[in-house]
């Protein structure tokens, strides 16, 4: 769990559309969110803030196991959600599924939400400690995201 006790979601995908989609989805969810469009940027992020949940585009990162290992996350065993291309072979799909749920692209927002949110909730349940510590900043965040001007 990240330092603030809220689950940290790291998205690695070269497609900005995915970034926008995930960011929209998570803006009202109690979690931290960071993103990278390249494996190198992901490694920079991971070096400073180990993620609890990885949302990985298979086409961006290449081999999942190699990528995760390169980020030094093997022992942390983060939960993973894999995004895969639409024309993936069944064998490849099965291999990816060994890391976590696999969602085919193009992403369907509802399916993404229904898959990602439970992962976050699972992390939150695992470490409920500290939620109260962030009540104040959560309140500010709520104001930011709901203020009507």
């Amino acid at each position: 769990m990240s330092s603030s006790s809220l689950p940290l979601v790291l998205l690695v995908d070269a497609d900005r559309g995915t970034h926008d989609l995930v960011e929209q989805l998570l803006v009202q969810v109690d979690c931290k969110f960071v993103a990278a469009r390249t494996p190198a940027a992901a490694q920079r992020l991971a070096a400073q803030m180990p993620a609890d949940i990885l949302v990985l585009d298979a086409a961006t990162i290449g081999a999942v196991a190699t990528f995760v290992e390169s980020m030094g996350m093997v022992k942390r065993a983060p939960r993973m959600l894999i995004l895969a291309g639409p024309k993936m072979l069944a064998a490849d799909f099965a291999q990816l599924a060994s890391f976590g749920p696999v969602l085919p692209k193009p992403l369907v927002p509802d399916r993404l939400r229904d898959t990602l949110i439970p992962l976050i909730q699972l992390c939150s349940v695992e470490d409920a400690l500290g939620t109260s510590l962030h009540t104040s900043s959560s309140d500010v965040w709520r104001r930011l995201t709901t203020s009507v001007r």
Partner: protein, 498 residues
């Protein structure tokens, strides 16, 4: 002194204004407790935070019956130079009357020599808390949050005051009674009066390093004596980077490695983290130039660049609801130049936002329903109440944008003689495709090379001695919003109604 006990009558002077000294009675240094009364008017309630310099108490002003924050220096720091520094902080903050800077109410000193400062009590979270809680902040929200702070700093700089310790910890996000988030700058602890160089040298010890390492500008990291508003520009851009990406642009495993990174390394573009777009990164990268002379010249220019970017994104107000157009781009200064030196002491030509807070447009449910920004921000589109002149200038800019559209996305232009360290921002009204043109002109050093082939963000440093370098960052032509991977376009923000 036990909690609840009354302070004996003071035998000293009473503070009158931020710069007066009030001698108070009370406990020995460092032994204050809840219930102690300072200066016959401040009852200490509880410790809010303790830092390397001192302790901040929540206190009750017994006369005004309001909560205040009392900053007490640690006893070991009650030496005259530290006391003088606290007084400088009080003076610096008191001189800038701005809605986004914490208000100083009083200063004083205990008989034991402990200086203290009374400030308005801010209830909220620090920006650092928000970043720590959320990871990163959506680009639109980042810019909306930053602009009031940039305005506050522009006001401070106009009075010759440089903060020098900008960091998310020193931004408190308060929520007004109306439910509006109001970011406030605190802790001018190492602020420097730009026209007070000699005193500054004496207080900070020439060449000593002050400031939080992660947000230090290279010139600060090198311990250079003279820093000015561009030091704050750097720190603000580091903050913006962190807000956008969740991490700071420079990283080191230890202090020396961090300083080395700040002085020598180029940060990874924010677009690598999917934060904002190329145009936004272009602005930030100009604020993160290693040489102060190559950097965006002042807060005004930074604010205008960000406001222009925001308008191009369809954002019309900052987080406090202030119209970006009226506060930053009034009369659509399509090419606003700034004086050569761009020092902190240069007065801003724009009135402070506090003097021109625009009442923003009315809203109705249908408008709100269509104006939910992708990042979750809800903005109410404004009615067509923008002055006619803006519409006229917008037409000109639209024509210019169409012309720009046919040109390459990024270019370096050589136009003519370089004006030293000056910054120019060309900001357009939100015509589509949006055009944000940031122009940084810099006086090259005597040793500057003759070629001018560099591309941003290092263009300014590579300009030949004579010509002016113009770095233009524009969004590529075509749809400005991304299309989601599920095939349908993402919600398009409402275009401001002109």
């Amino acid at each position: 002194m036990s909690p609840g006990s009354e302070e004996p009558p003071s035998d000293g002077r009473t503070a009158a204004g931020a710069t007066a000294i009030a001698v108070v009675g009370g406990a020995p240094p460092g032994t204050h407790a809840a219930g102690d009364v300072l200066c016959e008017r401040y009852r200490l309630v509880k410790v809010l935070r303790s830092g390397g310099m001192g302790t901040v108490w929540l206190a009750r002003h017994l006369v005004l019956e309001i909560d205040v924050a009392i900053k007490l220096l640690l006893p070991r720091l009650s030496a005259p130079e530290f006391a003088e520094r606290l007084m400088r902080e009080a003076r610096a903050a008191a001189q800038v009357n701005h809605a986004n800077i914490v208000r100083v109410i009083d200063v004083g000193q205990t008989p034991a020599g402990e200086p203290f400062m009374a400030m308005e009590y801010l209830q909220g979270s620090s920006l650092a808390d928000v970043i720590d809680t959320r990871g990163r902040i959506p680009a639109a929200m980042t810019v909306r949050l930053a602009l009031p702070l940039i305005d506050a700093l522009a006001s401070a700089h106009a009075k010759g005051i440089v903060h020098r310790d900008l960091k998310p910890d020193n931004v408190v996000m308060t929520v007004s009674d109306a439910g509006v988030v109001v970011p406030k700058l605190v802790d001018f602890g190492i602020a420097k009066l730009a026209d007070d160089v000699d005193e500054g040298r004496r207080l900070t010890q020439a060449g000593s390093v002050l400031g939080s390492p992660d947000y230090m500008a290279p010139e600060q990291a090198r311990g250079e004596r003279h820093v000015d508003g561009r030091t704050d520009v750097w720190a603000m851009c580091v903050m913006l980077y962190e807000m956008l990406t969740g991490i700071r642009p420079f990283h080191g495993d230890n202090y020396n490695a961090l300083i080395h990174a700040i002085v020598t390394e180029e940060p990874a573009p924010t677009v690598d983290f999917g934060a904002g777009d190329e145009a936004l990164w272009e602005i930030l990268s100009l604020g993160l130039q290693k040489r102060a002379a190559d950097r965006i010249g002042d807060m005004q220019a930074l604010g205008q660049g960000l406001a222009a970017w925001a308008l191009a994104e369809g954002i019309t107000e900052d987080v406090m609801g202030t119209s970006l157009e009226s506060s930053w781009l009034r009369a659509s200064r399509t090419s606003m130049s700034f004086p050569g030196t761009a020092r902190s002491g240069v007065p801003s030509s724009r009135p402070s936002m506090t003097a021109q807070r625009a009442v923003t447009g009315d809203s109705d449910a249908s408008q709100l329903a269509t104006s939910v920004r992708p990042e979750g921000l809800v903005t109410a589109p404004r009615r067509s109440r923008v002055p006619l002149v803006v519409a006229g200038v917008a037409s000109i800019v639209l024509a210019a944008a169409l012309w720009w559209r046919a040109r390459p996305a990024t270019e370096v232009r050589v136009e003519g003689p370089v004006a030293a360290t000056s910054g120019t921002i060309s900001a357009s009204a939100p015509a589509r495709p949006p055009a944000v043109v940031v122009v940084a002109t810099a006086e090259p050093p005597a040793s500057a090379g003759p070629s001018a082939t560099a591309s941003p963000p290092t263009a300014a440093s590579a300009v030949p001695p004579a010509p002016k370098a113009t770095v233009s960052a524009r969004r590529p032509a075509g749809p400005s919003r991304p299309t989601s991977t599920h095939g349908s376009p993402l919600p398009v923000p409402s275009v401001p109604n002109f």
